[in-house]
Every structure is written in structure tokens, then in C-alpha cells.
Symmetry: C2
Subunit: 290 residues, 2 copies
């Protein structure tokens, strides 16, 4: 495995892989890798010949009062995990490499970026879209792999790729969970033992939504209210949103449909967590086709 | 020469050229081709192996009261000119192909987009950047060729390419002029014979700026005033701007420097024309290195 920090080195390795006829898979990450990221690497290894993991804590997708400075950056451990997972190339640039002085361009995906995460984190998806497009232009992968955990993010990236004719196929992979249901996240390390227990309410609320959705008498607003009640059953949880929406447009629903997606963002103590579940009449975890 | 209207056909031809080891040159145009465009094709033929001309009158770079509907679209003549010039592939998509229903993404280059053309044509450079990035993603050229005539546009595109790490080299080619100095433009067909004569004031004002700039006693504001006086010496000219600015930042100048660029936008009758001249102490027409 090679690990490089400059675009020139990255392009040299990519070009060599390309010239030997290999297809390129890319897994963009902010590091602090966990089994969720590794499952993306495994998908990339199954579907492409040369797997690139990018590790970059992107400042432009953090708000001014968010956790950019304290976000974990265990680079050596991340490299070890990548090596063990069979990654071919890690790209871990410095901020000044990615955003040299004088850079002014950004990508506005519009549409699905204005609601939910976009409403609670102004500028977040502009930062995400811009860095992902930059990484796509640097790596020029055939396929890029994203987790369903960041549900709205993968929608935004698919919209961008479609709208800008980016020659990359975007594949979304299932959320990885701890044995007790907590969605894996690099931010879980922020949780105290008590908060770690309270955080289970998010996945439990999603499962509750799934159960209620199979009762044809339920309405979307009933289900949203039930999720909120469960989340608020313990102190120390502050809900940003808990909604049941259309999985393509994220628009509110008048009545139940299939598929739908339940999406939650909540603070447990000071740690902001997100989770989601796609709910269809057939089965409750698969992604809708897109 | 092939001429295609779908992205699928475009990509098939490009892929074949790429697989035969040829480098790709791209000349993005809005059609209504003239000798200026053909000079870009000639540059592309010198520097690359497979030359693609795109012909697309891009609605998103026109303001609501601009000339989108009346912009000339002589497709058959354009194809003939391309064939004669040795173009390999023309891509002339329909609007619905380029902007399918539901497209919401745009590119904001910031920086140099806010002044001059950006100030007089709000949204223009957002439209330009978005379509050019889309065309780059469709064609994936090694080199793209733009005219110096649209001076601010080539700056905006270079900034976008740099900021988004787009793997394309952008080359700017000199403005082509009629024998009497009028910069070639697809919009010159709008001019009546009288207006055609009045329009010479633009290139004459730029030449005046060049002469005055070689007198070390001049100040930038003297020169701008002199350009304005000349432009206003005939009725029927309305100036949007006539400035002498830094050729990289387009910022106003306190004092003369080298290089500088003189930029003019003015309406002659109802036709809006632009022209520019790079002025350096050594020579008055070359582009600054960038």
C-alpha cells in the first residue's frame, strides 16, 4: 500500500494503475476509520481493481461552532486499518494542499441541500459537494463508495454527479451498526458511557417508525410524533429533526408510501448524531433504487 | 467528421479516440462560428490529436432580457465550417439533453466573477462555469481552447479549473479582428452598417489606452477617462465599463503597471459588445502568463 499527501504523487499512482488496465474505486473519508468505512473498502475491492481511500477532514463542511478542531485524526491507526483491509493507495493531503490561498470556487447542488442537515448546518453541503468534486477530479475513479449512514449526503452527491455529468458511478453501501444497534460513527468516541447508552434511542426510534409504518392506519405525522416521544423519553437528548420523508426528494409525506426514509438528527449531550432507516412495504433496510 | 447530439454518442467517439492513444482537444462554442472560432480549432489541431467542437447556446448564461432567443443558430453552416477546418467531432446537444428536468446544481467561481461582466450580467458566470464544467466532464479533453476576446471568461474558467482540480489544461488564444480592428463576434451580425462603423470606437479606445499607457505621466484614471471620451464621441454608444485593471485579479489600479488589461463593454444601438487589450511595457497584445 502507498500513502501519499500530494496531488502529483496521487496522480502518478492512479495513472500507473489506469495504464495497467485496472478500474479505480474511491472511498472518500474524513479518517477515524471504523468498520463502516472498512465495509466501503470491501465493496470497492469487490467491484474495482485499485482501491483509493482519501483521508481528509474537510474544514469547509464544518460550521464555525462545530467540531472541526477536535475531530479525531488517528492517521497511523487509519493507515494500519487501510493496509489490513487491502487498500492500494491512501491519499491524506494537508488543508493547504487542498485549498491553496486564493481558492474561491464552490459547488451549489441546490434542491435537496436546503432541508434537514442543510437547514441545521448552513453551508455544510456546499463544503461536501465541493470537496467531493475536487477528490473525484484528483482521483478520477470509476466508482465511488459512500455510506447510507449519511443518507442526505449520498443523495446530494448523486444529484451533483448527475447534474454536472461527472463520469463517476456513485454507490451507496448499508449502514454498519454496533451489536446493540448504534450506527457506527467517528463521532461515537465523543460519547460518555451514559451517553453511549442514551444514543441507542436513535436506532430504537427508527425501528419504532418501521413497526408503526406497517400499520396502514398510521400517518406520517403520527410516526414522527412517536419517534420524538421515544427520543425525548430520556433527558440529555435534543432533537434537531425526526422525520419520515420521500427518499428521493426528502419532501414531507401526506400519507404512507413505499419506500420512505426515517431520518433523525439529535444531540446526545454535546455530541450531534444522525441515523436513518429506509422503510418499504417489502423490507425495511434496503436503499431505494435511484 | 462526426456530428452528434447525445452524450452517449459523444462518449463513444471520445472513448474510441482515447483508446487509439490520441489526445483530445475541446473548443466550446455557442455556434455562429467565425474566424475567431476557427483560429481556436487550428490551435487545437496543432496541439492535440482529436478535436471536438461543442456548439450549444447555453440558456443559463443569458439574463432574462438578453438575446438568448434571437442568438444566431446557423447549424448547417457551422458544421460545414467545422468540416472545412478539420474538426473530428461536433457535439451539438439540445437544451433538454444538457439540462434535464430536475437539474439543480451550479458552480460559483466567486472571486473575479463579481466585477465587470459579472456585475452587469448577474448570474452570467455561474451559467458559464456550470456549462463549461459539464462539457469538460462530458468530453474529458486534455486541453480546452478559449478566446482572449472573452477575457474575464477565460480568467473565470482558469480559476474554476485550478480550484476544482479539473484535469484539463485551459489555453487562451488571441482575439481575431476584422481588417479595420473590430473584434470578431457572433453578435456583430446584429449591427446595422452605421453601427458597424460606430463599433470601431471600441478597438480604437483600446489602442488609445495602449498609446497613453506608454507615457509614464499617465494615470489609470486618466486613461479610463480618455477611453470614455472617445467612446462617447459618437451618439449611439452606451458604456457599461471602460477600465484599465490588473489582468489576474481585475482589480482597479492605483498606478500603471505591466501587464495591465484594458476592458470595454458598451452597447452600440441595442447590441452589447465587449473587447479588451493586454498592455505591457514590452508589447501590447500578448496575454499575461498565468
Amino acid at each position: 500500500m502507498h500513502a501519499v499527501a500530494t496531488v502529483e504523487e496521487l496522480r502518478t499512482h492512479i495513472q500507473a494503475a489506469r495504464q495497467s488496465g485496472r478500474s479505480i474505486g474511491c472511498v472518500p473519508t474524513m479518517g477515524a476509520l471504523h468498520a463502516g468505512h472498512i465495509s466501503l473498502v470491501e465493496a470497492a475491492r469487490r467491484e474495482t481493481d485499485f482501491v483509493v481511500v482519501t483521508i481528509f477532514v474537510n474544514p469547509t463542511q464544518f460550521g464555525p461552532h462545530e467540531d472541526f478542531t477536535k475531530y479525531p485524526r488517528p492517521l497511523e491507526r487509519d493507515l494500519e486499518l487501510c493496509r489490513d483491509a487491502g487498500v492500494d493507495l491512501v491519499f491524506h493531503p494537508e488543508v493547504a494542499t487542498v485549498y491553496p490561498t486564493g481558492a474561491t470556487t464552490s459547488v451549489d447542488v441546490g434542491g435537496v441541500t436546503s432541508v434537514l442537515e442543510g437547514a441545521f448546518r448552513p453551508g455544510h453541503f456546499r463544503g461536501v459537494a465541493t470537496i467531493v468534486l475536487k477528490l473525484f477530479n484528483m482521483v478520477q475513479p470509476d466508482v465511488a463508495f459512500f455510506g447510507q449512514k449519511d443518507f442526505q449526503q449520498q443523495l446530494v452527491i448523486k444529484q451533483m454527479v448527475r447534474d454536472l455529468d461527472v463520469p463517476v458511478r456513485v454507490q451507496t453501501c448499508p449502514t454498519k451498526r454496533e451489536a446493540d444497534g448504534l450506527a457506527m460513527s467517528s463521532r461515537n468516541v465523543y460519547l460518555s458511557p451514559t451517553e453511549r447508552q442514551t444514543a441507542l434511542l436513535l436506532s430504537q426510534a427508527l425501528q419504532l417508525a418501521n413497526s408503526l409504518a406497517h400499520d396502514a392506519q398510521s400517518t406520517p405525522s403520527d410516526i414522527e410524533a412517536a419517534m420524538r416521544r421515544l427520543l425525548e423519553s430520556e433527558t440529555g437528548v435534543r432533537i434537531d429533526y425526526a422525520v419520515l420523508v420521500d427518499p428521493h426528494t426528502l419532501a414531507p409525506l401526506e400519507r404512507l408510501q413505499s419506500p420512505m426514509v426515517a431520518l433523525i438528527a439529535a444531540r446526545v449531550g454535546t455530541t450531534r448524531l444522525i441515523d436513518n432507516l429506509v422503510i418499504s412495504s417489502a423490507d425495511s433496510t434496503d436503499l431505494p433504487s435511484s
